[in-house]
Amino acid sequence: MTDDEGRILVSGLTKSFGRVKAVDGLTFTVEQGSITGFLGPNGAGKTTTLRMLLGLVRPDAGAATIGGRRYADLRAPNSTVGAVLEAAAFHPGRTGRAHLRIYCAINGYPHSRADEVLELVGLTGAAGRPVRGYSLGMRQRLALATALLGDPRVLVLDEPANGLDPEGIAWMRRLLRDLAAGGRTVLVSSHVLSEVQQLVDHVVIINRGRCVRQGPLHELADLHGPVVSVRTPQPDRLHEALTGTGVAPSRITRTGPSQLRVTGVHTDEVGELAFAERIPLLWLATEPSDLEQVFFTLTNEQQPAPAVPTGA
């Protein structure tokens, strides 16, 4: 195995559906062995990008490679990349075990491998039941079991937490962390940063089909500077005053009937502005940096245009 067998390279990837440009010249790199969060609001082009990476959707331009090869050129795709793409992608009449054994047969893995991955995701007890009786969480587990069948070096997961209860999300997080500890490359998409914040070490943030930020997670926190929380009886006037000094409206959030949160400014700036505008302040404090807010700011400031249809 070479060092970059698990490296994902996306360059200039472009795809339109009709007149909607779902992915627009997207370029990013996922390093071998990293856990990378692939983030963006719904409709940003995450699913389309992952499907192009996996050879399911044909790009209009650009290319995506895993370990230097296009997915279609991988010698043993299931043993190289494991993918969890959508919940409920099963034939409802097949049992969990029968479903897995199909892919054992296709890949030439022994039957026992199906039971091993069922054990790994905690589905052994339901293995003999048809999938139509599975809960959403069980389906996600079966999807993950399918992805792990070939013990792949790279895992690609599209919104794996969707539809899971908090316990299921915690379970998924633990499992992914264990898998990543074994040196696997993990690319996990989400529209909510907080869902993957404790899991990932790198992020690729996209919006409207373009990459708006990529790098280590900790750099994200330094991006927008301080966060200030302020309470005032006249929040609307303060909002107006702040935007009047050039603070983008997307950086101001109403957090209560008389409370605002402002990113990218210091407490003294807010205090002086309020004094100058004769707006009484009841409370003013610096908050710990909120990555979700950074994410929100990044994906909203770029282009305040309506989102493309979801599912893209």
Binding site: T48, A72, A83, A88, H91, P92, R101, A105
Partner: protein, 254 residues
């Protein structure tokens, strides 16, 4: 490719649809054979007397091939189910060369079609041989051109399976594919072939071509030579399977 075909058989046998359709096919073949024998002495019948080789060939061809639409439906469900249940994603992740997936399905379902035809022929044999013997007609499966008829029937069953897979790859929509198949086989083709004025070209349609291949003779129908019927069927298979495979490899799986 052997693994892919094994995978297709696993998919098929993971649910019971194949069994229900096989039982239905056996019932249809058995019923058709019984009715044909029971009313073979009717002076108005379009079939030849069962004491003649033409009559026996028709019996051994028509009864099993009555189940062919079920084979086409099973094959069509087998491929369109991948899109309906969105398992196409997992399937194409395991085998990115989609033409190989379609190829494996074509071969697997052709084999299933052969199996169905063998079982249906066995049902017809089990009914016809003793019954005709009681009527004083001894039937030998190795004589009266019956080996050719049975071989033709098996080939025709495989053809229907191939058409089902190919059409499914072409249309991808399960309901549209199955309903389309049934409308063609049970409405459109019977209407067209019932019009003697159109006979010069309707004899090239899949049903009449199938009848020609298996050696069915009816007093009110003109068929092609068996080899011409086989050639016509092979052409349909080829065109549909190639177009279906081409589309399946081009289209995005979303």
């Amino acid at each position: 490719m052997r693994r892919l075909i094994a995978g297709e058989f696993r998919k098929l046998f993971a649910t019971r649809l194949w069994l229900w359709l096989l039982l239905a096919a056996m019932a249809i073949a058995g019923l058709y054979a019984s009715l044909q024998i029971a009313f073979s002495d009717d002076p108005d019948t379009w079939t030849m007397p069962l004491s003649t080789s033409d009559g026996q060939q028709t019996l051994f061809a028509a009864a099993p091939s009555a189940a062919n639409p079920l084979i086409a439906v099973l094959a069509a469900i087998g491929i369109t189910g991948e899109y309906r249940h969105r398992t196409a994603t997992t399937t194409f992740l395991a085998t990115p060369h989609r033409a190989r997936v379609i190829g494996a399905k074509l071969l697997a379902y052709a084999a299933v079609g052969v199996g169905y035809a063998l079982v249906c022929t066995a049902v017809v044999t089990a009914i016809a041989v003793p019954w005709l013997s009681a009527k004083g007609i001894e039937v030998s499966l190795t004589g009266n051109g019956l080996p050719g008829t049975i071989a033709g029937g098996i080939a025709a069953a495989a053809v229907y399976a191939l058409i089902g897979v190919g059409l499914g790859a072409l249309l991808r929509e399960q309901v549209a594919t199955v309903v389309g198949l049934l409308i063609y086989l049970f409405v459109l083709e019977p209407i067209l072939t019932s019009l003697p004025a159109l006979d010069s070209w309707t004899r090239y349609l899949p049903g009449p071509a199938d009848n020609a291949l298996t050696g069915i003779s009816l007093t009110n129908q003109q068929y092609l030579q068996p080899w011409q019927g086989g050639l016509a069927l092979a052409s349909y298979c080829l065109v549909i399977a190639v177009t279906g495979t081409y589309l399946a490899t081009r289209k995005d799986v979303t």
